[in-house]
């Protein structure tokens, strides 16, 4: 399955813990079909979110992102990427 990295601008933050959890939960529920949201990194200094996905194509990822969510965290860029796992280097030493 191809992997994608999406970069989002974080324009707004939820006001309460419940709103914050609900925002993540609703994305999690939508992102369990063909496109799977793996994890995200947040860069506080630039207020950007880097999200890694497993998906057959970018369209299946965008289908998981509601208009409401995209208004808060619009996509700045999306790229198909290839994983290099640092742990693989340990396997070569065995």
């Amino acid at each position: 399955m191809p992997q994608y990295l999406l970069v989002h601008d974080v324009l707004e933050y939820p006001e309460s813990q419940d709103d914050w959890i609900e925002m993540w939960r609703s994305l999690r529920e939508k992102a369990c079909g063909q496109a799977e949201w793996l994890h995200s990194f947040y860069e506080p200094s630039t207020r950007k979110m880097y999200c890694e996905w497993d998906a057959p194509d970018i369209e299946s990822i965008m289908a998981c992102l509601s208009e409401e969510l995209l208004a808060i965290v619009p996509v700045l860029s999306s790229s198909e990427v290839v994983l290099f796992d640092a742990a693989w280097l340990d396997e070569g030493n065995e």
Binding site: Y13, E15, Q17, W20, I21, P44, R47
Partner: protein, 146 residues
């Protein structure tokens, strides 16, 4: 020297670290807001029967005031942010077994206060936890249920 947790001595040690740690002073230089950390009993401490609380007045990278409550009085403490958790979970956060962001996302660490401000200042929150982890801590003896 090791400080028993929870205790006033542990809080004093934390305040000393917060007020002398250069990194915290830099990371938290824009933070404005007092916090209350309320810790519920869950059997992780054989001596704890009531909710205890720490209050810290955190302001621009320093701690201006701090109090320890062995039980929470009716009239306080009130703070800009209240974090509520159990003794077991706070000990896991201090030991690094539980990630503080994960704890908030799973409500193992409940937050009352402006989440937007907290999220904009995540580095300050994480560095505060780092300072808590710097306190040489003697954890409580677990109760029978733990």
């Amino acid at each position: 020297m090791v400080f028993p947790f929870p205790s006033l001595a542990w809080l004093d040690a934390l305040v000393e670290i917060l007020n002398s740690d250069e990194r915290y002073g830099q990371v938290a230089k824009n933070w404005e807001g007092d916090i209350c950390v309320a810790i519920d009993p869950d059997g992780s401490s054989k001596d704890q029967v009531e909710t205890i609380a720490y209050y810290l007045d955190l302001w621009h990278g320093s701690c201006r005031d701090a109090s320890f409550f062995e039980s929470i009085p009716d009239d306080g403490p009130e703070a800009t942010f209240t974090f509520q958790t159990t003794m077991g979970n706070i000990l896991k956060i201090f030991s690094g077994e539980l990630d503080p962001i994960q704890a908030m996302l799973t409500r193992r660490l409940k937050v009352v206060g402006n989440m937007a401000y907290l999220l904009r200042n995540i580095p300050t929150v994480l560095d505060f936890i780092r300072c808590c982890r710097l306190v040489p801590t003697e954890p409580p003896s677990p109760g029978k249920a733990a």
